[in-house]
């Protein structure tokens, strides 16, 4: 069980490393799909069919939107030689990763081994929850009954994101581009 998840996660790490270093942007986007679709298999192994149904469709739609953005461009990532600031950035990122790894190793001592989860809220949400909410699917019971405020906030965040997309894409500036930026440049 744990071995299977480790192998699939290894695949995901390989796909992520290739997606970050690929020269062609289209192949980078499609390689990112490996990570998402492997996550679906992990969810099925971890006994979460609700999440698997959502993730397999969401990943496809994300891929469609990303390909629509990338096909508009020249598709090439311009590599220049690693200058001084680039080297400093890479070195800093390695230091940050080392520090985070150190803290995770400390924090991992408090985690239970895989499969022996003892969360404090698990028992009240499972024992007798079907009679309390009337729903056979316990996840739906938690989403809409025990944690209703959470779901309402999620719905509002979704509406806000849609308003943001409409404001960015569908409102026309003066003539071309952003109206404000053109005024600033004319003033200066």
């Amino acid at each position: 069980m744990e071995l299977a998840i480790c192998i699939i996660t290894g695949f995901m790490i390989l796909g992520a490393i290739y997606a970050i270093h690929a020269k062609d942007l289209l192949s980078a986007v499609i390689t990112c799909g490996i990570v998402g679709y492997s996550l679906v298999i992990c969810f099925l192994l971890l006994k979460a069919p609700d999440l698997a149904i959502v993730q397999i469709v969401v990943d496809t739609i994300t891929l469609i939107i990303m390909v629509a953005v990338v096909l508009d461009s020249s598709r090439e990532e311009r590599f220049s030689r690693l200058d001084l600031s680039g080297r400093i950035t890479a070195f800093t990122s390695l230091v940050v990763i080392g520090i985070l790894l150190y803290f995770f190793v400390i924090a991992a001592e408090n985690l239970d081994a895989l499969g022996n989860s003892t969360l404090r809220m698990a028992a009240p949400y499972i024992n007798g929850a079907a009679e309390k909410t009337g729903s056979a699917n316990l996840v739906t019971g938690v989403v809409f009954d025990f944690r209703g405020y959470d779901t309402m906030g999620e719905a509002v965040v979704l509406v806000t994101a849609v308003i943001g997309v409409l404001a960015v894409l569908r409102i026309k500036g003066k003539k071309e581009g952003f109206g404000l930026l053109k005024e600033d440049s004319a003033k200066a």
Partner: protein
């Protein structure tokens, strides 16, 4: 316990991409990789060995179920992740139409 370390390794790969890449589409990809590792971590925490999926069968109630709370949290987070990624890509396509490049260094040079 190894699965937790692999999951955190995936998070670190995404973080490395966000810090070192200069291309806006690559940064969006790295952010979605970090998101995916967080989802996997929640699903790992909720797993109970020998458990079945949290669907109650009234005829056979005495079973061990997987913890439904982390699954409910991840369920809403996945859909939110799609919407925020789409917002990020909308800003990116606007920037490409204005400056004709995805490279953040050149965008900085062309300001004003």
């Amino acid at each position: 316990m190894t699965a937790y370390y692999m999951c955190f390794g995936l998070f670190l790969v995404g973080l490395y991409g966000v810090i070192t890449r200069r291309n806006l589409v690559k940064i969006a990809i790295s952010l979605s990789i970090m998101e995916i590792s967080a989802f996997l971590f929640f699903a790992l925490i909720g797993y109970i060995s020998g458990g079945v999926a949290p669907i109650v069968n009234p005829a056979d109630p005495d079973k061990v179920y997987v913890d439904p709370l982390p699954q409910a949290l991840v369920l809403t987070a996945i859909v939110i992740g799609l919407a925020t990624t789409a917002l990020l890509l909308a800003v990116i396509i606007r920037i490409y139409r204005k400056y004709n490049t995805f490279d953040i260094r050149e965008i900085r040079n062309l300001r004003g």
